[in-house]
C-alpha cells in the first residue's frame, strides 16, 4: 500500500515536471529525424520508410537516451538538493526509489501512446492504402515502449549502484555503446538499445520482425529488471557505502529472489531463442550431401501433409515414405533446426533417432536406422515447430516464416530431406493447410487444387518432387497473358494493384520481353514457353532467376523506386529498367563491378533504346541523353573532381562518399553515354544490338569473373581512348586529371 501511495505522489509530481515534459516533447519530435539522418542507398518499402525508420530506428533510441537522462536526474534530485536526509526519515529510500521508477515507466508508456496517436494521421496519409493500423501500433508497443523501459531501468539501476550522476552516465553510455557498436551491428539479441530490423514489406506483411523484436525486448526487460531489483538492494543504508548497504539488504528475499529469477529468465530466453539456428556465420559450400546410393529406386511413394498455424508461426506435419528397400546402416535426414521430430515409425513400430546440434546452412541432422530386412513398408515422420533462420543469412533476409498474411518456407523448412532415398524419377503428393485468403505457390507453380475446410483454412493439394524447394503464399494477384508463344504469369502483391494499373505494368512487361527477345535473345529463364514473373517480399532480400521463373524484389514496384529518376524518367521506365536486368546482371549476363562499368550502365542504355522506340527520339534525347550529359557535366565541374589533391586531404569516410557519388554517375550516366558513343563508332544501333546479342549469347563464359569494360571494348573492336573523353561536356578540360 505504501508503495502505491508513493507511486501516486511521484506520478503526479513527475507529470508536472518540466524536465519530464521536455523529454516527452523531444522524444515525440525525434521521429521525423530518421528519414533525414539516415542515408539509404536503396529503395525501401513504404512501411520501412514511414514506420521502421521513424519509430524503430530513430524514436526508440533517442527516446531511450532522453528517458535515461531524466531517470538519472530524477534519481539524483533529492541527493542534489540535500533533502534526502529528511526524506529518508519519512519514507524508506528503496520504496521511494521504486515508486519513482514505476512512475516514470508509466509516464513513458503514456508518451508512447501519445506519440503513436500524434503521428497516426500523417503516417496513414503518407502510406495511403498500404497502411495497417495494427502493424503501426504494434511497432510502438513492441519496440519503442519496452526499449524505453529497459533504458529507464538500467539508468536507475546504475544510479542506485553508484550514487554518482557522472558514473551512471558513463555506465549507461558504455552499455548503449555495446549495442550500437560494430560487434552488434547485425545481432538481433545484442542490440537492446537500437533494435535490429532488416526491413518491412508492404505487399507481403510479415510479423517475424515483430516476433523477434518482442522476444529480444523481453530478454532485455528481464535482465534490466533483474539488475534494477539488485540495485534496490544497493540503496544506501545508515549513510554507509555500497557494499555495506548491500550486505545489510541481502536478506530482503522478496527483492533478491525475483531479481535472480528475472535475470536468469533473460539469460535462459537468450540461450534458447527459437529464431536463429546455431550454425556458422558464413554459408558453407558442401560438395555433396548425398550419401552412397546403392539402390536407385528405394521409395515408391511419398505423402506430405502440412498444417501451418499462422497465429503461432508454427508447422505441424507428417511425411510418409513407402520404402521398398531400407538403407543399410545409420541413416540421416535433414530438417529445419527449429523443428522437433515428435514421432518416427516404420511399419507402425517406433524407430529410435537422435538429433545432433550440428546446424549448417539452416539444416540440422537427425540420425536413425531402419530394420534392414523389412521391405515395402511405410516410414512415417511427424514433426512440428517454429522455423528458424539459418545464421548465415539471418541478418540480411527472412527466408522461413509463417504469418497470417504471408508464408515463405524453403527446402527443409517444408519437408525432411532424406538424401539416401531419392531418385530422379521420384514424385510425391503434398497437402498443405493454410489460411483461406492466401494464394499459394509450390516450387514456383501456382497451386490450383484445394478443399475448403470451412474454418477459415483451405487444404491445397499438388503433386511435387521428392525435394520441395519453395513454398510461398501471400496476397497475390495474378495476371496471365501471352507474348507470341510464351505464356506469362505475372504475380504481384495485391497491395500493388493500383500501382500496376496506374503505370500500365502489364503492357510494359509485354513491351520489355518482346524488345529484349528481339534485340538480345530469348530470356534463358523462360522454359517450355512458360514464364512466371513473381514479386518477392522485400524481407527476402532480392530477386533471382530459375528456369521458367523470374522473381524480382518487392521494391521494384515501390513508390521509392519508381520515383528514382536515375533509372528512368517515369515510374514505367524505371520498371523497364528493372525488368531489363533479366538480360543484364545476375539474372542474365553477369557484369563485373568496376569504377566505370557495371550492369547498370548496360541496363540504362537498353532502357533508353526501348524508350526511344516507344516514345520517339526527341523524348529519349531529352530525358536520357541530355540528362546523362548534364549529370556528367556536373560531375566534371565538381570541385573534388577538378582538384583530386583536396580529396586526399579529406577523411576516408568523405572520400568514400564522394567516390560512391562518382560511381553512381559513372554507372548510370557516364557509362550509357560511353555506350552511346561506342554505338556511333561501331556503325549505329543495329550494329550495337548485334554486339549486345553476342555478349548475351556468351553469358556462360562470364559467369565466374563477370563481363567487364575491357570485354566490352573487345566485343566492339574499340579502345578506351576511342570512347573516353568524347562523351564529356565542354567544361571537362580538367576532367581528365580527375580520378574516379
Amino acid at each position: 500500500m505504501k508503495l502505491f501511495s508513493f507511486y501516486r505522489v511521484e506520478l503526479r509530481r513527475l507529470l508536472l515536471s518540466r524536465t519530464v515534459a521536455a523529454a516527452a516533447v523531444l522524444s515525440m519530435l525525434s521521429l521525423p529525424l530518421g528519414n533525414i539522418l539516415y542515408d539509404f542507398s536503396s529503395s525501401r518499402a513504404m512501411s520501412a520508410r514511414y514506420i521502421l525508420t521513424p519509430v524503430v530506428m530513430t524514436g526508440t533510441p533517442i527516446g531511450a537516451i532522453l528517458w535515461a537522462a531524466v531517470m538519472i536526474m530524477e534519481a539524483d534530485r533529492l541527493q542534489r538538493s540535500g533533502v534526502h536526509i529528511l526524506t529518508d526519515t519519512v519514507a524508506p529510500p528503496a520504496l521511494l526509489s521504486a515508486a519513482r521508477t514505476l512512475a516514470l515507466l508509466t509516464i513513458s508508456a503514456i508518451v508512447t501512446a501519445l506519440t503513436s496517436l500524434v503521428y497516426l494521421p500523417s503516417t496513414a496519409a503518407k502510406m495511403s492504402y498500404l497502411f495497417s493500423a495494427g502493424f503501426y501500433f504494434a511497432n510502438f508497443a513492441v519496440f519503442m515502449l519496452p526499449t524505453w523501459w529497459i533504458s529507464i531501468l538500467f539508468a536507475d539501476a546504475f544510479y542506485q549502484i553508484t550514487r554518482r550522476v557522472e558514473l551512471s552516465v558513463v555506465l549507461f553510455i558504455a552499455l548503449a555503446g555495446v549495442s550500437v557498436s560494430g560487434i552488434s551491428s547485425f545481432n538481433y539479441f545484442m542490440r537492446w538499445f537500437n533494435p535490429y530490423v532488416i526491413t518491412y514489406s508492404d505487399g507481403f506483411p510479415s510479423v517475424w520482425p515483430l516476433r523477434i523484436g518482442l522476444y529480444t525486448r523481453l530478454i532485455w526487460l528481464c535482465i534490466a529488471a533483474g539488475v534494477w531489483l539488485v540495485s534496490i538492494l544497493c540503496v544506501r543504508k545508515y549513510q554507509k557505502g555500497l557494499f555495506f548497504s548491500f550486505w545489510k539488504n541481502r536478506k530482503k528475499l522478496a527483492v533478491l529472489t525475483p531479481a535472480v529469477l528475472s535475470a536468469a529468465t533473460g539469460i535462459f530466453l537468450w540461450h534458447f531463442q527459437p529464431f536463429i539456428d546455431h550454425g556458422p556465420h558464413d554459408y558453407k559450400y558442401i560438395d555433396n550431401l548425398l550419401m552412397e546410393i546403392d539402390d536407385a529406386n528405394r521409395i515408391s511413394a511419398i505423402q506430405y501433409s502440412l498444417s501451418l498455424n499462422p497465429a503461432l508461426g508454427t508447422i505441424s506435419a507428417k511425411a510418409a515414405y513407402d520404402i521398398q528397400v531400407p538403407y543399410r546402416g545409420e541413416d540421416v535426414l535433414q530438417l529445419n533446426p527449429g523443428y522437433q521430430i515428435t514421432k518416427m515409425t516404420y511399419d507402425g513400430e517406433n524407430v529410435p533417432f537422435r538429433t545432433v546440434d550440428n546446424d549448417i546452412n539452416g539444416k540440422r541432422s537427425t540420425y536413425f536406422e531402419l530394420p534392414k530386412d523389412l521391405y515395402n513398408k511405410t516410414l512415417v515422420i511427424e514433426y512440428s515447430g517454429f522455423p528458424t533462420q539459418g545464421r548465415c543469412w539471418a541478418n540480411s533476409m527472412v527466408q522461413d516464416t509463417i504469418d497470417h498474411d504471408y508464408i515463405s518456407l524453403s527446402s527443409t523448412a517444408i519437408v525432411p530431406r532424406l538424401d539416401n532415398y531419392y531418385s530422379a524419377r521420384g514424385s510425391a503428393v503434398i497437402d498443405i493447410t493454410i489460411p483461406d485468403n492466401l494464394m499459394p505457390f509450390l516450387d514456383y507453380t501456382l497451386m490450383t487444387d484445394f478443399a475448403d475446410n470451412g474454418d477459415g483454412t483451405k487444404t491445397w493439394r499438388a503433386a511435387c518432387s521428392e525435394i520441395v524447394r519453395d513454398f510461398t503464399a501471400g496476397y497475390y494477384t495474378i495476371n496471365t497473358f501471352q507474348i507470341g508463344s510464351l505464356n506469362v504469369d505475372f504475380a504481384y502483391g495485391t497491395a500493388y494493384q493500383g500501382i500496376v494499373e496506374e503505370n500500365d505494368i502489364e503492357q510494359t512487361i509485354i513491351d520489355i520481353l518482346t524488345y529484349g527477345s528481339e534485340h538480345y535473345g530469348e530470356l534463358w529463364s523462360a522454359e517450355q514457353n512458360h514464364l512466371l514473373l513473381r514479386q518477392e517480399s522485400s524481407m527476402f532480400g532480392g530477386g533471382y532467376a530459375l528456369h521458367g521463373v523470374s522473381t524480382w524484389f518487392e521494391t521494384v514496384l515501390s513508390p521509392d523506386t519508381l520515383s528514382d529518376m536515375d533509372k528512368g524518367a517515369s515510374a514505367t521506365e524505371v520498371f523497364i529498367h528493372e525488368m531489363l536486368h533479366q538480360w543484364w546482371g545476375g539474372l542474365g549476363l553477369e557484369c563485373a563491378q568496376e569504377d566505370l562499368w557495371s550492369s547498370e550502365g548496360l541496363t540504362v542504355y537498353s532502357t533508353y533504346r526501348l524508350v526511344k522506340e516507344k516514345y520517339g527520339a526527341l523524348y529519349a534525347q531529352q530525358y536520357y541523353v541530355d540528362a546523362w550529359a548534364e549529370a556528367v557535366d556536373n560531375q566534371n565541374r565538381s570541385f573534388y573532381n577538378r582538384h583530386p589533391e583536396y580529396l586526399e586531404l579529406l577523411p576516408k569516410v568523405y572520400q568514400s562518399q564522394i567516390a560512391s557519388a562518382n560511381r553512381s554517375i559513372n554507372h548510370y550516366q557516364r557509362m550509357p553515354l560511353m555506350i552511346l558513343k561506342a554505338e556511333e563508332l561501331v556503325g549505329g544501333e543495329d550494329k550495337m544490338d548485334e554486339i549486345l546479342r553476342r555478349m548475351y549469347e556468351h553469358q556462360d563464359e562470364f559467369r565466374e569473373n563477370g563481363f567487364g569494360f575491357a570485354d566490352f571494348l573487345q566485343y566492339c573492336g574499340l579502345t578506351e581512348e576511342d570512347i573516353d573523353g568524347k562523351c564529356a561536356s565542354p567544361h571537362n578540360d580538367s576532367a581528365g586529371s580527375a580520378s574516379f
Partner: protein, 243 residues
Amino acid sequence: MKKIIYYELRRMLLNKTFFGMLLVNGLFAWFTLSYDIIMGTAYTAPFSLWSYCVYLGRTLPLAMITVLLLLANYYYSRKQKQVEILTSATPVSSFCQIMIRTLAAGICFLLIYLVVIVLALLFYVSFFRFHDFAAFVLPSVVLLLPCFVLFTSLGQLLGSIHRSLVYVLMLLAFALHSITGAFDFFGAGYFSTVPLTLPIGTDGEPAFEISAAFLITRLLYVVLGIICIYLATLLSARKSQKA
C-alpha cells in the same frame, strides 16, 4: 546605465539556456560543415565565398531562433510583465530599454557567431589548409547584420504586442529558411543557386559577386528593422504611460 547593461548582459548570458543553445548552435554548425559544406556549394570549393555564405545562411535560422528565444524568456515572459510596472517607474527611457535589450541580444548573437565562424575557420584550416580569410569579412557583415537587425527588432515589436507572437516569428524563421532569390532572408538559397547561373572562370569556378538587388534588399531589411525598433519604442512608451 553601465550597471543596467552589465546586469542585463549577466542575466541573459550567464544562464543554462544560453549555454545550452550555444552548444546546440555549435553542434549544428559543425554538422552543417561536415555533412553539407564539405562537399562544396554549386560545384565550388568548400572554402569558396559561395560555400562560406551558404554555411552562414544555413546556421542563421537557428541563431535567430536562439536570440528570439532569449528575448521571449527574459523580456517578454510573464514574470517580466509583472515587474514592468517597476521598470517603467525608473528614469530609464523606453528607447534606452529597447536599445539595452538590443545590445544584449546583439552580444548573444555575436558570441554565437564567434563560435560558428571560429568553427568554420578551424574546419577550413584543418581539412583544407586554407588560411585566406580576409575576403570572408564583408560577406559576413552583409549576411549577418540585416538579419539580426530585422529579426531582433521585429521580435521586440511583436513581443511587446504579445509574447506568443515571438514564437510565431520563430516558426517564420523556420519557414523562410529555404527561399531563393534576392529576398532570401538568410542567404543560403541565394548563394547556392546564383553560382550555377554565372560563367565559369579560369579556375573552374564562378567569380564571387553579390547582385545589386540582393544588396538593396539587405539594406531594406535594415531600414525595416530600424522602423520596427522605433515602433517598439513607441509601443513601450505608451504602455509605460498607461502603467
